[in-house]
Amino acid sequence: MSLAAEAFVSQMAAAEPWPENATLYQPLREHQILLSDCASSLAVQAYLRMCNLPVRVSCRANAEYMSPSGKVPFIHVGNQVVSELGPIVQFTKAKGHSLSDGLDDVQRAEMKAYMELVNNMLLTAELYIQWCDDTTSSEISRPRYSSPYSWPLNHILAYQKQWEVRRKMNAIGWAGKSLEQVYEDVSQCCQALSQRLGTQPYFFNKQPTELDALVFGHLFTILTTRLTSDELSEKIKSYSNLLSFCRRIEQTYFEEQDRDSQSGASHHSKGPSLI
């Protein structure tokens, strides 16, 4: 979003309280959504639950095209549409809900830095594994991505997306990496996160922040998604404090809230769990 549009949206946002019918859109859960999109979507859901803001999850095949920035997930609140975690955090902040108000300047700098670390390494690694590894790409990513469409559109869209992602990998210097190197990078990233988390319940002591939501989204999705090989989830399982961190957030924000609310489980549950 451009700066002027952002400022306008924040002004509009501040005017109204959070409505009851806020909706989050993502691709189809069972057949279409891919690892990276699922992780981003779960991160946003976790963040909104941490802020205690109710949101309904709606799965659409063309969610990617509905989104204003082309990326999923996006939320439809009142008469505004906001996509991606960063702008959504700012949007909720404009409405008066924020998780990182209690942090001082140095901590805020660290939080932003670690969020960029997750985006830079974990998200990029997920995209690499999905689209640049030939096995995964042909067995999982392309069939899933193009499942709502008929021939020949499914082939065209799938290859177009693959080509775009490979160009991006080229531009940021990941094209020359082998799969082992990517796993190694993921391991380094998890080690950094594990070091930062230490024995605390959340990254910034007692209260969760958007960093916790983002890390949870990615780690949980990797742990519960079946790929062609288990190596990625094995890398994460070797860090026990990250596992217990994911478990804790799942129990606190997903299972308890599901038990409390009486609405249909299919909307709020994520399907697989860590147990």
Partner: protein
């Protein structure tokens, strides 16, 4: 044959190749000597990076990162400052050429290779500081690097007056005619792909968006650095190298239009951080940069080029006139006739006239 200019060079070159010695080419620094060759000794790896300017050891952010890290870690590298990326072992700069393991290209790969050779500037860091390093490097790459590339390569005024001029002056003929614009296209594509926005073009909106992130990143770095000399303790680490590599070009290169530069100068601790590293680890370059301000300022350059400009104008006018004259002569538009002497012809004609008169 012995006095033919190229003979001795050719002679030595053939001997060298017969003895199978490795020949390393040292371009620009060796000035006017046309044939330069040297024998590569064993052990130290070689680092190829962009030349320096404006008081910096190199004008390219990636090369600066690697140079700074090498100095911090005390790695004994043989540094080649070149201005022709086609001469590097991997085709792009910076590049590290090791004896046994081939060549490496990007800053993080080069740093990993140096660490493998036991030159590690992060040795003293605790585990948490190592994690913070990774996080802040990601922050730099996601939030500051796109804006830096935009400012240097995509912003029209900066590109034409500073970047393209420097590259055209410093890259050797004939590459200086097409390499800068090719590099510009590559950098624009890189920014577009990094931001995930295909429609990003040079313009105010893109600039504002990128600068917003970059300003926030600089503020965060400034808050994290506080009043310390380096980011972690008293000795510099790889994070310091990355921050230096990204901020020093913004500080030192004189850009005609840059709000990033002004904001960075207002952050005093980052300013003194960069100047500190320059004076401690690159004293030669900073002295040269201070001693030669005239050649690097854009105002001074007009006057410096003035005599050459006049000479070039005069030469071009003369060449044009000569070309036109020769064309005219060759095609016969203008013909120079030789007029023979007046007297005999005049005599003959007068006699003929008399004769004719007599006949009539």
């Amino acid at each position: 044959m012995l006095f033919w200019p190229g003979f001795w060079q050719l002679h030595f070159w053939t001997i060298a190749t017969q003895m199978k010695l490795k020949i390393a080419v040292f371009p620009a620094e060796w000035g006017s000597v046309p044939w330069c060759w040297g024998v590569k000794m064993a052990a130290p790896s070689e680092l190829f990076c962009w030349k320096g300017g404006w008081g910096l050891p190199s004008v390219d952010p990636d090369s600066l990162i690697v140079l700074a890290y090498a100095r911090f870690a005390g790695a004994p590298l043989k540094i080649h400052k070149i201005s022709n990326p086609w001469r590097s072992p991997t085709g792009c700069l910076p590049a590290l050429k090791t004896k046994d393991e081939g060549s490496f290209s990007q800053p993080n790969k080069i740093i990993i290779q140096l660490r493998k050779q036991k030159y590690n500037a992060d040795y003293d860091l605790s585990a948490k500081e190592g994690a913070d390093t990774l996080a802040f490097i990601s922050l730099l790459q996601e939030m500051l690097m796109p804006a830096l590339i935009y400012t240097l390569w995509v912003d029209p005024k900066n590109y034409v007056e500073v970047t393209r001029r420097w590259h055209a002056d410093n890259i050797s003929f004939p590459l200086n005619f097409f390499l800068p614009s090719r590099m510009q296209r590559q950098q624009l594509e890189r920014v577009q792909l990094m931001r995930g926005n295909r429609a990003l073009e040079a313009g105010e909106e893109a600039e504002k968006e990128l600068n917003h992130d970059a300003l926030e990143c600089m503020n965060l770095l400034s808050q994290r650095l506080g009043s310390n000399k380096f980011f972690f303790g008293d000795s510099p680490s790889s994070l310091d190298a990355y921050v230096f590599g990204h901020l020093a070009p913004l500080l030192k290169i004189k850009l005609p239009s840059s709000s990033l530069q002004q904001h960075l100068k207002s952050l005093e601790n980052l300013d003194s951080f960069c100047c500190n590293i320059l004076s401690l680890y690159f004293p030669n370059e900073s002295r040269e940069g201070v001693g030669r301000p005239v050649s690097s300022t854009p105002e001074g350059s007009e006057f410096d080029n003035e005599p050459y400009k006049r000479r070039k104008q005069l030469l071009s006018v003369l060449v044009a006139v000569a070309a036109m004259l020769s064309y005219a002569l060759l095609t016969g538009i203008v013909a120079i006739e030789h007029v023979p002497e007046e007297v005999p012809r005049g005599g003959r004609t007068s006699m003929r006239a008399v004769h004719e008169e007599e006949e009539e």
